[in-house]
Amino acid sequence: MKYDLIVIGGGPAGYLASERAAAKGLNVLLFEKRNLGGVCLNEGCVPSKALLYSAKIYDYTKHSEQYGIKVTESSIDQQVVIKRKNKVVKTLVTGVKAALKHHNVTVVEKTAKIEKKSSEGYVVSADNEKYLANRLLICAGSVPIMPPIPGLHEGYEKGFVLTNREVLDLTEIPENLVIVGGGVIGLEMASYYNSVGSTVTVVEMLDKIGGPIDDEISELLRKEYEKKGVIFNLGSKVTSFTENSVIFEKDGKSYEILADKTLVSIGRRPATKDLGLENIGVETDKRGAIITDSFGRTNVAEVYAAGDINGISMLAHTAYREAEVCVNNMTGKKDIMRYNAIPSVIYTNPEVASVGETEATAKQKNMNFESVKLSMKFSGRYVAENEGGNGICKVLREKDTNRLIGVSLIGNYASELIYGAAMMIETQMTVEDIKELVFPHPTVCEIIREALFAF
């Protein structure tokens, strides 16, 4: 049996590509070696949101008094939280399976390896069985970076060191949690475990948290969490893990923090190992990422790649779009992947969201721009719902074209409203155009409109 398309990896890129390709009439085979839905659905974006929502409700009970609600007692049951999280994951994974079945995608839950290109097509093997297809789509995702730091691997074996996978399944709340890496995953887990009672210490190599987010917003977020009791060690480099502590260096001095558990979340790398890429000569860069063009094509004819495996954006929503670009180009519809308007969100409390350029990236690109910073208090709803909130919204305009090029904000609902800003940037709307749009009132998203009128 020969397939039109073999998809390797059943995460957001893989399952969506399979659905889309099958809907277009292709005969699709999908390999998944672990869980359909990938990291995102099983041990990333989705389960962490389930946990964070429990934490949010718990937070409400603790801070309800200033809103006039007296809660005499509240407590968190971690086991119930994890159980509910698992239910959420199961529901969604079941949904993915059903969708694949509905589209007649053949799913093989095995580890696949590309063998060769024969005169018949591409040969992929799994458990000594051979499968044949005209085209390949590689979306095997990424794995956490586990650097060769003394004690790290031993700690991981013993369950002291955790990755995103294990940290979402802790049935007991650790008293002391050290988080190495203050990026999106690190901050969201810091937020959760801080809410549910752990003493959380974040060790970050850079001098800011949140990776590429706006510097001022990064600082606001850090101060917010410092108020809540999270300890941040910036500009700090972990040198070793012991059985019950993390040792790091800061300004030339060595420090040791005792911990019950340690989360290592310093980044992810493309999972290109053992895929058999070398058998057909797929080009990768020095990080091991598959090199793709803007149509999702690799250097090998009819071999496409999408998602974390290309190392470009490493976000599930980017993967969705990349998958669609690949399928469209495979099936003869020209489609181009654009990365200039991909929103990103950190689901802390308050949430942080941004799209397009920040002041730092715009400067780096020598763009002729100006920015406006506005307090979130210009949104009526924000004031009504955020006692003592001090969020900000930053909007960047390119002067030459008068178009919106970047929006960053910190404040709840940021995650839900950022897509609007992404649309404005993607379609290259000018500030004048946007001023003609009507925003619902009172909402937090009105802040964007307010900010634009400051230009």
Partner: protein
């Protein structure tokens, strides 16, 4: 002591000239007789030579600037010499409004501003749109500035708006200002729209690429010279405003050919010019015109101005384009005088050194394509004149003389008249008389 060089005044009617080329740059050494710059009036091009030696210290105008006559063009002096005393209007009679600021004005400030216009399919001021198209545009909300006009006179008509509404403008809002209609882009934006980034990456259609790779240039672009612009304007208004009618006739050229051969044989002995067939036609036409004054006239603003003397315009083919110098009072001149004067005017026109005053004032025009083998054509009248005579080439014809067929050299004449003011029959009568005069040229000379 530094010397200023002014924009010369060429003829009494010329107010300003366009700088067509600078031959020297600021800082260049200049010798007496070196060409400093080339400039042009509506009708002719001139070179300005340096009358002093030194270094070109400052230039006040750029190529393409329209410079009022007598303004300073540049300053020549010794290197390092102070030229702050010179301003561009230093040689001009001071005008009241410029006097107060004269001292504070710097040379840089007083340069005429040159506007750069953005390239766009249409602009709102010059946009021509039909009422139906306008109404549809208002209804559909399309931006008519991006409609491709297909109506007469580049007018946007209903179907253009329909097309625009259907296709949509495939360009993002922010990229609109830099988008050139009809240009080829590699659109990478949402829904295939051209984005701001795409604007800087304009692509050439593939069929052109192969050629360009070999260094082939698809076309060259050149702005029209002033002379050409004037010709274009005049020719177009001539055809669009008049009711031009051309009639063709031929005459037996045996007489004038013999006459010319005779003159040529004796030219040196008698001190005569090399009289050409064209000179003979000019002479004959000048003499004939006075009895047909409707054709020796100007017509403008419903007024017919009939001249009692003939100022004969003679069309000359020059490297810079068509020029029409005038032989004033041609009806009073001898054939030899006419011949000499036409030769002189032609030489000056071709070298570009003719005074603009000699390029106007004609009452009738003769144009000759005969030596290029043209048998008949439709000359275009030089307004406000009412007629123009085209001189065509010689052809061999046969006629019956005393029952015998006889071959002879026939010459064609094409007369265009402004039928608004000249009727066909009177014009034909002029042509008939002219042919008769040319056939019996020696008789005419005797008159």
């Amino acid at each position: 002591m530094a010397t200023a060089v002014i924009m010369p005044r060429q003829g009494n009617t010329v107010e300003s000239c366009v700088v067509s080329k600078w031959h020297k740059k600021k800082g260049d050494k200049v010798n007496v007789g070196d060409i400093l710059f080339t400039y042009e009036t509506d009708k002719a091009t001139f070179d300005e030579e340096s009358k002093v030696e030194g270094v070109l210290l400052e230039t006040y105008f750029e190529e393409g600037d329209d410079v009022p006559c007598l303004l300073n063009m540049c300053v020549i002096g010794e290197e390092g010499e102070d030229i702050s005393g010179f301003t561009l209007d230093g040689a001009q009679e001071s005008k009241p409004e410029s006097q107060e600021n004269k001292d504070t004005k710097t040379v840089e400030d007083s340069k005429p501003e040159r506007k750069k216009e953005p390239i766009k399919a249409n602009d709102s001021e010059s946009l021509k749109i039909s009422p139906r198209a306008k109404s549809l545009a208002d209804k559909t909300g399309v931006d008519v500035l991006y409609a491709e006009p297909t109506g007469p006179n580049n007018r946007v008509i209903e179907r253009d708006v329909q097309k625009l509404a259907k296709d949509g403008t495939k360009v993002t809002s922010a990229a609109k200002s830099g988008y050139v209609e009809g240009a080829s882009y590699n659109a990478t934006g949402i829904g295939g729209r051209v984005t701001v980034d795409d604007l800087s990456k304009q692509v050439q259609p593939e069929h052109m690429l192969a050629k360009t790779e070999e260094g082939f240039v698809e076309y060259t672009e050149e702005k029209l010279t002033n002379i050409r612009k004037v010709i274009a304007r005049t020719m177009h208004s001539s055809i669009s405003e008049m009711a031009q009618l051309t009639m063709n006739s031929t005459f037996d050229a045996t007489g004038i050919l013999n006459y010319r051969a005779m003159v040529k044989a004796n030219a040196e002995r008698l001190g005569l010019a090399n009289i050409t067939i064209n000179d003979i036609v000019v002479y004959a036409a000048a003499k004939t015109l006075l009895s047909h004054k409707d054709l020796n006239a100007h017509f403008a603003n419903d007024v017919m101005k009939r001249f009692n003397t003939v100022h004969m315009g003679v069309a000359i083919d020059t490297p810079r384009g068509l020029m029409v110098p005038t032989v004033f009072n041609a009806d009073m001149k001898s054939l030899n005088d006419i011949s000499l004067q036409v030769k002189e005017l032609a030489a000056k026109s071709k070298s570009g050194s003719i005074s603009p005053d000699l390029l106007s004032g004609g009452t009738f025009t003769i144009t000759n394509l005969g030596n290029l083998g043209v048998e008949s054509f439709t000359p275009v009248i030089n307004p406000p004149q009412t007629a123009i005579l085209g001189v065509c080439g010689l052809t061999t014809r046969v006629k019956e003389v005393n029952g015998q067929l006889k071959a002879y050299q026939a010459m064609g004449l094409s007369l265009t008249i402004d039928h608004r003011v000249v009727d066909g029959a009177p014009a034909a009568r002029f042509l008939q008389e002219l042919c008769s005069n040319l056939e019996n040229f020696e008789m005419m000379l005797a008159k």
